[in-house]
């Protein structure tokens, strides 16, 4: 029984509604054999809370959402049937307060919780606390969460099952053995401190000459920075792409993939533009990487929606990076090309239903791109921006989707992360999707807070992006071409005229000059 979705775009609203063409009664009937939910709490905020609430409404499930005092005007509050205030020293700490949230579930008769992403979405203690209170967590089991949430543990788990991980060698004190291991990996090799992080003490080595000295220096530095001399070497992948695969698993042992997403355009290790399909994959490679992902998820008996992330080398090699055991920010592009409502599938899986789709039924149709609109100043090294949303006009049109929890009057500050909206487009192929994304960005208006909207347009129009020549260093590599274009004198004059005409004092002063108002039609300020 497939729930095919069609999209209905509502003008002047920042949401896209999903409507199921098949009958919900089918879903209700089959639910009798499994668990049913009386009330589902979305333990999140902003755009993802809105996104989940829309699906809960479509499924006919009573819903509730959390809010912090600062968010009393959030549109999520009116979309949910109920809203519960959470308290904390900071707004973020309120959303992380497990006893408080479990207490709210008990108090209000909530029997299922959707965690969204971030906050408690990958917190096994939260799942156990909900288990203890008899509340269903919409997501994987805590054991799988712990296993795949551990960077080293998950890597070992994957390697033991013969899925590809980047070749590496760990220094156990025997220098000769370590150096032999490094040579076996092949160059270039990345040498880093075992206890390290944040790029400190990392070094790329391109040849065997002088390797012994480099290792000795790396050990001294590791000792100095981290108090632990052990080092670690890993195949270094130049110009890699970030490719991830969406998977769904149910309690009945079924597991499918919903194809890949490429998320190579990143700044500060955070994704900015995502797309599917990846322009880098041949049909054979696509099948291979997607089947690896299903294999890994199956090995963990995965239940729910998850993402297996890979690092993809220019020569077509790919290696397991990590698994995210939650719905991801960029999930809409997968929904656009497959027509599957991933949140509805999460809910159904949590109820104990088998997956709605077989692998053969999940097709990748057309091309989808997501742009993350963030309150930041790209031309000032992506420094965060703050302010008040004074005007918000979502793009409206065929193949355009706008997921946002933002609203006019909203104060954008430091309390939460800087993403304020996601602009998603779908078209028949990549070129058309890029063009549609540019159109959507042109239509989109957000005034009052500086955003990366102009910058996203420059990324999309860049020749290398258009050619599909993307890698995780794209933003740094092309920084010189991605700056703002020179402001022409004509446009500058027009902007200044617009600014002057917005100014009450300036306009009042024009009272002294004879005729201006006659030419200012419909002046209403």
């Amino acid at each position: 029984m497939g729930l095919r979705l069609t999209q209905v775009f509502i003008e002047h609203s920042s949401i896209v509604l999903y409507k199921y063409s098949s009958q919900l009664s089918t879903l209700e009937n089959s639910m009798s054999a499994v668990r049913s939910f009386k009330k589902v709490l979305v333990a999140n905020r902003g755009e993802i809370a809105m996104r989940i609430l829309r699906t809960l409404k479509d499924l006919g499930l009573p819903s509730a959402v959390l809010y912090h005092r600062q968010e009393i005007e959030s549109p999520a509050l009116s979309l949910a049937d109920e809203a519960y205030e959470v308290f904390g020293d900071t707004p973020v700490s309120a959303y992380l307060d497990i006893p408080q949230i479990v207490g709210l579930c008990k108090e209000h008769g909530v029997d299922a919780v959707h965690p969204g992403y971030g906050f408690l979405a990958e917190n096994a203690s939260f799942v156990r606390a909900l288990d203890g209170a008899g509340v269903c967590f919409i997501g994987p089991r805590p054991e799988v969460m712990n296993l795949m949430g551990d960077k080293i543990g998950s890597r070992e788990f994957v390697a033991e099952r013969d899925f590809p991980i980047a070749p590496s060698v760990i220094d156990d004190g025997d220098d000769d053995k370590f150096i032999a291991g490094v040579i076996e990996i092949g160059f270039p090799v990345l040498i880093k401190a075992s206890a390290g992080g944040g790029g400190k003490g990392m070094q790329i080595v391109r040849e065997a000459d002088g390797l012994r000295d480099i290792v000795a220096t790396a050990k001294v530095e590791a000792q100095r920075y981290f108090g632990d001399p052990r080092v670690y070497a890993e195949r270094y992948i130049e110009s890699p792409r970030h490719i991830e695969v969406q998977v769904l698993g149910d309690e009945h042992g079924n597991c499918v993939h919903l194809w890949e997403r490429e998320c190579s355009i990143q700044r500060r290790f955070q994704k900015v533009i995502e797309e599917t399909p990846s322009p880098a994959l041949t049909p054979e490679l696509r099948k291979d990487i997607c089947e690896s992902a299903v294999g890994i998820a199956k090995a963990t008996n995965y239940t729910g929606a998850g993402t297996i992330e890979f690092i993809f080398a220019p020569n077509g090699d790919y290696y397991f990076l990590e698994m995210n055991t939650r719905i991801q920010v960029e999930h809409p592009i997968t929904e656009m090309v497959t027509g599957v409502d991933l949140v509805a599938e999460q809910v159904r899986i949590a109820m104990g239903h088998p997956l709605s789709y077989s692998q053969e039924e999940i097709k990748q149709v057309g091309h989808a791109i997501e742009c993350r609109i963030c309150a930041e100043i790209p031309d000032d090294d992506f420094a965060p921006a703050a302010g008040k949303v004074l005007m918000l006009r979502p793009p409206v049109g065929e193949g355009m989707r706008f997921d946002s929890g933002s609203y006019e009057g909203q104060k954008v500050g430091t309390a939460f992360d800087s993403m304020i909206a996601k602009l998603i487009v779908h078209a028949e192929d990549r070129d058309a999707a890029i063009e549609r994304a540019c159109e959507a960005l042109d239509q989109f208006v957000l005034l009052g807070v500086e955003t990366n909207a102009d910058y996203l347009g420059r990324l999309l129009r860049h020749q290398a992006f258009k050619a599909g020549e993307t890698n995780t260093g794209f933003i740094k590599e092309h920084a010189a071409d991605l700056g703002p274009s020179e402001l022409s004198d004509d446009l500058e004059a027009a902007v200044l005229a617009a600014a002057a005409l917005s100014d009450h004092q300036f306009v009042a002063m024009m009272d002294d000059v004879p005729y201006p108002y006659r030419l200012m039609k419909e002046w209403r300020n």
């Binding site: 006009r393 200044l496 002057a500 005409l501 024009m510 200012m520 002046w523």
Partner: protein
């Protein structure tokens, strides 16, 4: 009287001037014939010497936000009276470039510092940045301490120039 508007770091002067039955603005050194239309839902149109521009505009105090020709512009209106009065008063204060929290104070009142010395570390949206002295001088009154939250443009540290 001329009004001053700031785009980026550049100041521009605009003055209204009328000729016969046209609205004419002096923008910088140029004179432009201007027509203006205020449409539905915040959409506006301005025509300069026959060239037409659609745009969206919103204003918060002296900050004017404009989207025109597919690009965003932030323009600051500079009040001619306030600008003249405030020129010397603000020189010795370091104000917050963005809202955030103080993570670390690296100086005390009365400390002598030189151009480029670190004064304090602030955090905004999980991003830490360092505020440095812009000239040689002595640290005056400190308005914040570790953990203090502040808004954009709040004074953090007063600063006495070494003149």
């Amino acid at each position: 009287m001329r009004y001053t508007f700031k785009i980026g770091d550049e100041l521009h002067k605009v003055a209204p001037r009328s000729l016969a039955d046209e609205l004419v603005l002096t923008i910088g050194d140029a004179e432009c014939r201007v027509e203006f239309e205020h449409g539905k839902g915040g959409r506006c149109n301005v025509t300069l010497d026959g060239k037409s521009y659609d745009y969206w505009m919103a204003r918060d105090g002296d900050d004017i936000y404009i989207k025109m020709s597919g690009s965003y512009f932030k323009v600051a209106a500079i009040d001619p009276c306030a600008a003249a009065a405030g020129a010397s008063a603000g020189a010795g204060a370091i104000s917050a470039p963005m809202p955030g929290v103080v993570v670390e104070m690296l100086v005390r009142e009365g400390d002598s510092v030189v151009d480029g010395d670190k004064l304090l570390t602030i955090e905004s949206m999980k991003l830490q940045s360092t505020i440095r002295a812009a000239c040689d001088g002595v640290v005056g009154r400190i308005h914040v301490s570790v953990g203090s939250e502040f808004n954009k443009d709040d004074v953090l540290v007063e600063f006495e120039n070494d003149d």
